[in-house]
């Protein structure tokens, strides 16, 4: 038999999955979620929004095309663990620099393979996303379950502070429109898209005050995606509340939820979230359907929206949840999905143009 390190994933309800480690040894806890994308594992691994989560890929064969230096969405891996059916032992792609296994070992990431990921996915679908522990050190179901129950979880927790940048920085040197990005765990492709749209991009830590931001004289502000519960970051809500009256704002994902909270709406936790690249979203203004990239466990409540002040611009056709909002009183709009894609289809990128148009109209 090949030499292998056994690993286990145990959920807080006691469900246990055996597997083999293909990354770092150790133990980690997080909320188990599944992602249904068939490609783009590198973008998923480096997406800061996964902080606090153990991600299982529903597609069984992961790592086939290896890992390269370009396809990253942040400078490191934030997720707590990665669960797959089979991690490829070789990497085959002209851009590949190393195999997924090497990458995991070098970056001290916990990975477990050989898991019946479909069974795990169905379990999460039926019972909801839940806390779990992944371990190579302790293989006892009971003690792992205990640890899972006692782990922090996502509710009410500020995970943004663990992923946001420590300093203010300029992403690029020139651009017609100055855009300040509030980094709640921003994916790099958001910054790349802004650059493509002729923006001078300044990134600020999530805790930056509205005054400091306004002192930077932005033409627009983008509130980025990020991990965890929007209610865990009340300071952000306050910052946004002040900014809304002064400058055009585009919110993405967590940013969308924070804007909703700032205008008196509420959010709730979805049973198992939306994590994938195939969600149909209808732009209610045009009737067109876009295949969107989604990664969120929380969602804006539909019933509490004040329709006089708010226009729902996008809905998810799978479950009719709110996917986009336009604030009638302010030059502000937001979407729950990821127009910057990466990974996933590029077709919602038109929203960046809408942001620029909003900025132009406000000049």
């Amino acid at each position: 038999m090949k030499q292998c390190v056994k690993a286990k994933l145990v959920l807080e309800d006691g469900t246990s999955f055996k597997g083999i480690s293909f990354g770092a040894r150790g133990e980690n806890s997080g909320e188990v979620v599944f992602n249904t994308a068939m490609s783009g594992y590198q973008e998923i691994l480096t997406d800061p929004s996964y902080k606090g989560q153990i991600v299982t890929m529903t597609y069984p064969l992961i790592g086939n095309y290896g890992v390269n230096a370009e396809d990253v969405e942040s400078n490191r891996v934030f997720l707590e663990g990665f669960v797959v059916r089979e991690a490829s032992r070789i990497a085959s792609n002209w851009r590949s620099q190393k195999s997924l296994r090497e990458y995991f070992q070098e970056n001290n990431i916990m990975g477990i393979e050989g898991v019946d990921t479909r069974a795990l996915t169905k379990h999460v679908r039926e019972k909801g996303a839940m806390k779990a522990v992944i371990s190579t050190e302790d293989l006892n179901d009971e003690s792992l379950r205990e640890k899972a129950i006692n782990s922090a979880g996502l509710i009410g927790r500020d995970l943004v502070k663990e992923v946001t940048s420590e300093h203010v920085y300029d992403w690029n040197d020139t651009g017609k429109y100055t855009v300040v990005v509030i980094d709640c765990g921003v994916k790099l492709n958001i910054l790349r898209e802004l650059v493509k749209h002729n923006c001078l991009v300044k990134v600020v830590p999530a805790g930056t005050s509205a005054e400091t931001i306004m002192d930077m004289a932005p033409h627009g502000v983008l509130v980025s995606n990020g991990p965890g519960d929007p209610e865990g970051v009340p300071y952000l809500m306050n910052t946004v509340k002040t900014l809304m009256k002064q400058v055009p704002i585009f919110g993405i994902c967590l940013g969308h939820q924070i804007l909703a909270l700032a205008t008196g709406n509420s959010t709730y936790k979805l049973k198992f979230g939306h994590h994938g690249v195939n969600h149909p979203v209808k732009d209610l203004r045009t009737g067109k359907v876009y295949i969107t990239v989604q990664n969120h466990g929380f969602c804006v409540k539909t019933d509490l929206l004040n329709r006089e002040e708010i226009e729902v611009t996008h809905i998810n056709l799978n479950d009719n949840t709110v996917e986009g909002i336009k604030y009638k009183k302010f030059p502000v709009f937001s979407v729950q999905f990821h127009p910057e894609a990466s990974s996933g289809p590029h077709e919602a990128v038109y929203l960046f143009k809408e942001f620029i148009d909003l900025i132009k109209g406000n000049l």
């Binding site: 038999m1 064969l61 390269n68 490829s88 070789i90 002209w94 679908r125 690249v277 195939n278 149909p280």
Partner: protein, 1078 residues
């Protein structure tokens, strides 16, 4: 915005006969479309010449025209039916081409018919290479460098711009007929000339070679609101240079990063928009340079295709059904996903398994043709396998192919194969390359080295290497002693891994020297059993309602076993010559009939092209290889009350005995009865008991005994291995030498079964009977008289129903014998008997107490659904209950004609014999035999002329009869050209003819005439013995130049009848419903 209200009646064009490149996937898509549109309240008119299809069942469309798919027939149907719209995108290239011709002829305008799905301009833009190139360049996408040529001169000029090697692709052809790769100037000129001939518009594309690049396909759908979704991405394991139909393909895409994949996706969406396919599905192919990621667009099919059928089965998303709904005005978000019920069709399926499709070849049928693969498609079928890993799916696929492999096993001892041979087999793509990759790995060649030779992505080769490594581990860990094996502490870990890698029990058993049953026993004792998972379009994100399963070895089993009464139907596996759509028709009918009776129907099959593997056809679908192990896994889980093995052809029949021994309840005619009919000794005894004549015969296990038997019963003899379908390796032998040769070849074909030797009845009339029996009563469904004499395989012979030359006494004798045999064998279900009539004596050649190839034809001709009735009888119903007292009196004549694939296999002689070679069939119906035969010929692509030069050269035996044929042709105004011998016969009977000499004697005029298109028809009957090389090259040339060529006397007589009938009377069309509902 829901469906259009301005359309009421929609005309759908089917794809006609099964040919290489166009198989039953279009029956699957067409049937789906008809059903979907009728559900929406549209009246459906259908044209399709293929009687073996489900779509031509009278209940699928409102009016079904089994007529030749020609512009002429189409116009007549339009004139009669006045449809408001034509949907051309579901009938393959045939449907599209016919629709395009109809528009060009002004027919749609004349009758105010709108085309839906795709319009003329969009089709032209996609199909015409120059238009396509311009369109793709306009949106800034990259293509291989290319130049169009309309003449050989232009082609030569093009070579100045693009360097050899180049690819030559003719425009408007099926499956790339006539295309090829040219490495040298000579090759270039030859292929260019052929391509110009084959193109409907004499146009070829000369293209920069991207051979060896990675090849991808995307299946897209678009609605009228411009919403576009990608249903499935497919990666070809065999890189560019092998036709995608001949490639092993894998879904989803395995070796592209998301950046690359999304670039391809966006490109595909821009293409479908720029081309302007309004609604429905399209397939777009790309090539990617593995060295630098350069992506080029290869081509687009603006219609439902073979790949979209595969994509539908691979993902669970029914492309054709949705395409039909989009064509009538729905948008993707208005249609719900059948499988999840709650989510809309406007999404992109995501899968959580790996799908491998493997083509099935039949090079063994055409020994003169090389098994080399290129850009012109040669495979005749395919199998698909689903697994959680590529390794598992690949091995399941290889055993599902039914070519004797139990997985990626060794048929040859790798260490005995020369390195040189391995290198050759890797270098030049061929049907067994996947096995040579294994041999190369076993001989120590590196993944990289193999990839450098084959251009196959290292990821695939490494996965194969993992299979090899595990195989070595199994061999090295275990001995052949079962008690030792059971004691090994690693046994279950290794066995589990092996099952997860897709190894079959028998394959593992062979590696360590124990039996399949022993491995199975060990597995069962230790709880290592297959689990079944759902194909659900969404990777388990949503609840799935459709029970479409595949097996794997993991933790959770998802089957929902019900308490209902269940019947399992075993399908036919991949299509091949001799076993195709006809059997799938029977299996699907069994499912329909038993569902009607309230049974839960369970289908098991591995062929993605079929209606039977549509999740709508049965209550449960298991997409699995048809091996004992795979079938038993399902039976263990489902515990059906009955299993039907008699409908799927030889594949399930071969499992019958083993299943029965495992106490599986096989219903219908018993396994013993089947054996009594198939085993020659038992069969001879049976006939003797019933006093039924049989040609003298014997069976032999050695050369010597074969010779003795042949001498005893007298040459010529018909020889064949037992237990085969489609006349595999069957031959007529005239002397000892040929018999020896046959015995040498036949050995490994028949295994422990003997070789059968029958007296060959020269010039006998062959008759096929399909009947259904409940063991007490017998209903004769149809009696078919073959046009060609006995000796031509029944699957290749044309036949006519009702018989047109047999006397009543003969017919009565045939009926009596059918009833006797059915009762004696206690047949409960279908029965097919082949008779030969010689000198007014009726002989029985074969009895098959199971579904036959002619069941759908008979059902279409008579309106009696034989397969459905048989299925109901198998679960206990009685014939009496069906109100079928006597054979139906018909006042129309139906002719079945076979369609042969010779144009695909250059250098192959087209003469018909006892080994079946046809891929498909067509049907002609009319009031008289002449016109029905003529229609069948046209439908089969044999364009019988009404004027011009006819070349006649016949063997001596036929010289008397040819006079009448020639006289008729002469009187109808044809000009006769003949060889010397035939000329003498004609001349002495007062028929004027021109003479040409033999090619071998230096007279090449005839060849020139054919090449120039000066010959309208060839009648050439080769004599039974060899030594006919002159005529062989003429026949091949005729095939390449599309000149109808008739090789039997009976065929010639029928053709002349047909031509005569057509000259006297115009062709008319009539729906099948109007023929049978009177």
């Amino acid at each position: 915005m829901p469906k259009r209200n301005d359309l009421h009646k929609i005309l759908i064009i089917g794809s006609g006969p099964i040919v290489v490149g166009q198989a039953c996937e279009f029956d699957y898509s067409g049937t789906q479309a008809c059903k979907a549109l009728r559900e929406e309240g549209f009246e459906i008119v259908l044209i399709n010449s293929n009687p073996a299809t489900i779509m031509t069942d009278p209940e699928i469309a409102d009016k079904t025209y089994i007529e030749p798919i020609t512009v002429e027939a189409l116009e007549k149907i339009i004139e009669k039916e006045r449809p408001s719209a034509l949907l051309p995108t579901l009938g393959g290239q045939t449907g599209l081409n016919t629709a395009m011709s109809a528009i060009e002829a002004g027919i749609l305008d004349k009758y105010n018919v709108v085309m839906i799905g795709a319009d003329y301009d969009a089709i032209k833009k996609a199909e015409n290479r120059e238009c396509f190139k311009k369109a793709v360049q306009k949106i800034g996408l990259d293509l291989p460098k290319s130049v169009l040529a309309h003449s050989i001169e232009q082609a030569k000029e093009a070579l100045k711009e693009i360097q050899l090697p180049v690819i030559i692709r003719p425009s408007f052809t099926l499956g790339g007929t006539g295309g090829g790769v040219a490495n040298t100037q000579n090759e270039f000129e030859r292929i260019a000339e052929l391509g110009l001939k084959n193109s409907r518009i004499s146009e070829i594309l000369i293209e920069e070679s991207v051979i060896g690049w990675k090849e991808y396909e995307l299946e897209l759908m678009r609605d009228k609101n411009d919403n576009v979704v990608v249903i499935c991405g497919i990666e070809n394991l065999d890189p560019m240079g092998v036709h995608t139909g001949d490639s092993i393909t894998v879904a989803p895409i395995q070796t592209l990063t998301d950046k690359e994949y999304q670039g391809m996706r966006s490109a595909a969406i821009s293409i479908i928009r720029e081309i302007g396919v309004e609604t429905g599905g399209s397939n777009i192919q790309f090539a990617v340079n593995p060295k630098n990621g350069r992506m080029v667009v290869i081509e687009m099919n603006p219609r439902v295709s073979r790949s979209s059928a595969l994509a539908s089965k691979a993902t669970g998303f029914p492309i054709a059904k949705i395409a039909a709904k989009l064509a009538v005005g729905y948008t993707l978000d208005e249609i719900s996903n059948d499988i999840t019920q709650k989510t809309p069709a406007s999404f992109e399926p995501t899968i959580d398994y790996c799908v491998v499709k493997i083509p099935r070849f039949t090079f063994e049928k055409f020994p003169e043709a090389q098994d080399v693969l290129g850009i012109s498609m040669k495979s005749v079928g395919e199998t698909m396998a689903i697994g959680r890993t590529f390794k598992e799916a690949l091995q399941k696929g290889l055993r599902g192919l039914e070519i004797g492999h139990k997985g990626l096993d060794n048929k040859q001892k790798y260490n005995q194969i020369l390195d040189e041979k391995i290198k050759n087999r890797l270098e030049e793509p061929n049907a067994s390359r996947i096995f040579y990759i294994k041999y190369a790995l076993q001989k120590g060649m590196s993944v990289e080295a193999i990839s450098n030779i084959t251009y196959i992505d290292p990821w695939f080769i490494d996965n194969i290497k993992q299979i090899v490594e595990l195989e070595d581990e199994i061999k090295n860990t275990f001995s052949g002693d079962i008690n030792q094996i059971k004691k090994n502490p690693n046994l279950m870990d290794i066995l589990r891994e092996a099952k997860q890698f897709g190894f079959s029990d028998v394959q593992i058993g062979e590696l360590i020297g124990i039996t399949e049953a022993e491995i199975r026993g060990i597995r069962k004792e230790n709880g290592l059993e297959a689990v079944f998972k759902l194909v659900d379009t969404c990777a388990a994100e949503f609840m799935a309602y459709t029970p479409y399963y595949y097996s794997t070895y993991e933790d959770e089993d998802e089957t929902r076993v019900s308490d209902k009464k269940k019947i399992m139907i075993l399908g036919g596996g991949p299509n091949r010559i001799g076993q195709g759509i006809e059997f799938d028709y029977c299996c699907s009918h069994a499912a329909f009939a038993l569902r009607d009776l309230g049974f839960e129907t369970i289908m098991v099959n591995s062929n993605p092209e079929t209606v039977s593997t549509d999740y709508d056809t049965s209550d449960k679908l298991y997409f699995e290889p048809l091996t004992f192990e795979d079938v038993m896994n399902i039976i263990d889980r489902e515990k059906p009350q009955g299993v039907i093995v008699q409908f799927g052809g030889q594949t399930p029949l071969n499992l019958a005995k083993k299943l029965k021994d495992a106490n599986v309840p096989i219903i219908g005619t018993s396994v013993e009865s089947i054996d009594r009919a198939e085993n020659r000794d038992k069969f001879a005894k049976l006939l003797k008991k019933l006093h039924i004549n049989q040609p003298r015969n014997g069976s032999a296990l050695s050369k010597e005994s074969a010779k003795q038997i042949a001498q005893k019963i007298g040459y010529p003899v018909l020889v064949r291995p037992s237990y085969v379908l489609g006349g595999r390796a069957m031959k007529i032998v005239y002397e000892d030498v040929s018999l020896d040769e046959f015995m040498d070849e036949a050995k490994d074909i028949s295994g422990e079964h003997p070789v059968l030797i029958d007296k060959f009845l020269e010039d006998a009339i062959e008759v096929d009977v399909d009947a259904v029996s409940d063991g007490e009563d017998v209903f004769i469904g149809g009696i078919m008289e073959h046009i060609e004499e006995a000796g031509v395989h029944s699957g290749d012979s044309a036949c006519v129903l009702p018989p047109h030359t047999l006397g009543d006494d003969i017919i009565d004798a045939i009926k009596d014998q059918t009833v006797l045999l059915a009762k004696e064998l206690n047949v409960k279900g279908l029965l097919n008997i082949q008779f030969a009539v010689k000198s007014d004596i009726v002989y029985v050649l074969e009895v098959n107490p199971r579904a036959s190839r002619t069941v759908p034809f008979v059902s279409k001709a008579t309106g009696v659904p034989l397969a459905k009735i048989a299925a109901k009888i198998m679960v206990g119903e009685k014939l009496l209950g069906f109100n079928l007292t006597a054979e139906k009196k018909l006042d129309h004549v139906s002719v079945k004609e076979s369609v042969l694939p010779f144009s695909r296999f250059s250098g192959v002689d087209i003469v018909l014999g006892p080994e079946m070679k046809s891929t498909g069939e067509v049907m002609g119906i009319d009031k008289s035999f002449g016109i029905a035969f003529y229609k069948a010929q046209i439908a089969a692509g044999q364009n019988l002329p009404n004027k011009g030069n006819v070349f006649i050269s016949v063997k001596n035996d036929d010289k008397r009869e040819i006079v009448f044929v020639a006289k008729k042709l002469y009187d109808m105004g044809f000009n006769i050209i003949s060889t010397k011998g035939t000329f003498k016969a004609l001349n002495s009977n007062g028929i004027k003819a021109d003479v040409v000499g033999k090619f071998a004697e230096g007279d090449a005029r005839l060849l020139e005439f054919i090449v120039r298109g000066d010959i309208a028809l060839i009648i050439n009957t080769p004599s039974g013995r060899s030594g006919q090389s002159d005529m062989k090259s003429i026949r091949s040339l005729a095939v390449t130049h599309g000149v109808p060529c008739i090789t039997t006397m009976q065929g010639a007589q029928a053709a002349v009848n047909g031509i005569e009938a057509m000259l006297n009377k115009k062709m008319s069309v009539k729906a099948i419903q109007d023929y049978i509902n009177k």
